[in-house]
Amino acid sequence: MSSRDRSALEELGVTSAERTRLRRALDALEPDDEARVDPPAEVWAGISAALNDDGVPMTGAAHPGDVAGTTGTTVVRLGERRARRRHQAWVVGAAAAAAVLIAGIALALRDGSSSGGGTELVAAATLQPLGPVGEASADVELVRTDDHLELVLEARDMTPAPAGRHYELWLLDPSNPSAEPVSLGPMTGSTEAPVPDGVDPDEYDVVDISLQEAGQEEHSGNSLLRGTLT
């Protein structure tokens, strides 16, 4: 019965090259590999519009945040997302985590259980009108989930941007005249935007919404709403 001595992987026809590749990748897994950040709503809007141009009938919005049932922040661990979707427990307690021996995943699980996978409110601001915005207003929260910072913006009464122009969300550092504004991307209304690594919100503490021309990469100078995170 030579098969008794064959490893499980050999019995399944896993080659040594395949085994090496998988072992190396499994061994290198880190918490960031299972962190998930929902794309901003503008991404689906763009896809939907482009597909409509292609003649593909689009029936409605499909936003990952909607599916996951998230409110507030959209930074979640895979486990939270899966648990919500499938009611399948993934985040385990520290004792159980010790038994889950896939190194990176176990690390991620410990990470998740120690922080509870929750979010921490770091700062908040109400944006005030700087330009002709009618009744538009916005509240913004800076939240931290594990190592990730994200701006969660709730906009009210924002009318669509004029044709050929768009709104864009920025972080500014008013104390440093040579600091370039940091774009968090185009927006059309309420959105969640990750703060890029290396941007210190203690310095870049002003949230700004500008009106941009198509293709314009720098801040237009045409700010509509602005507020300071405190």
Binding site: L22, E30, G60, S183
Partner: protein, 197 residues
């Protein structure tokens, strides 16, 4: 869609019903695929790009996936893997375009730019991140018991019988758990590998 009922249990070898609908060009499938995998693709892009470019890249990946859906083979791998395979080359292209920009700056006498070696390392890093995120996605779809057995199989090289003894799980269950687990990992990587630049 957000609360569509699970109609059919996923086929572990031939691709999920959604994967087949996507490959067949069902217009509703792209919305469901985005809802299911948008965060995975976007999270991958954010590992190497800033927020604005990651959002643009995510949009490009799904449009490219839909427009080249005839190249997707549900039997070769999962949609999650295939989408990250597309995203991998999209991100590498974006980083290379920046590298070219750095070369121009370099030619103008500015400080040293990005070398071809740097670019190769960068592409290799992007690929490694994609591979790990595909595997994390696959592992999250397995039960804790199956993940534990996969670990024992890969890192301790045990036989099925050893694993059954170690875990106290019946041999038949060990065999089916590991077979399904390995197949699940393979299919995710298979999709990732099934994309050409």
């Amino acid at each position: 869609m957000a609360d569509a009922p699970q109609r059919v249990a996923p086929d572990p070898t031939g691709g999920s019903p959604l994967a087949h609908r996507f490959a067949a060009g069902d217009p509703g499938a792209i919305e469901e695929v985005y809802a299911e995998h948008g965060a995975l693709v976007h999270s991958f892009c954010r590992r190497s790009l800033d927020a604005g470019r990651a959002a643009d890249a995510t949009q490009d990946v799904f449009l490219a996936a839909w427009r080249s859906r005839d190249r997707y083979r549900p039997d070769a791998g999962t949609l999650a893997g295939w989408l990250l395979g597309i995203a991998r080359f999209k991100v590498i292209d974006i980083l290379r375009a920046e590298g070219r920009h750095a070369d121009l700056v370099d030619a103008a006498g500015a400080e040293a730019g990005v070398t071809p070696f740097d670019r190769a390392v960068e592409a290799s890093d992007v690929t490694a991140i994609g591979e790990r995120m595909v595997l994390a996605e696959a592992l999250a779809g397995l039960s804790e018991r199956a993940r534990h057995m996969i670990h024992l199989a890969f890192f301790e090289d045990l036989t099925h019988a050893d694993i059954a003894e170690r875990t106290g799980v019946p041999l038949g269950t060990v065999k089916s758990d590991i077979r399904r687990g390995v197949e699940h990992l393979r299919r995710h990587l298979g999709g990732f590998d099934d994309v050409e630049p």
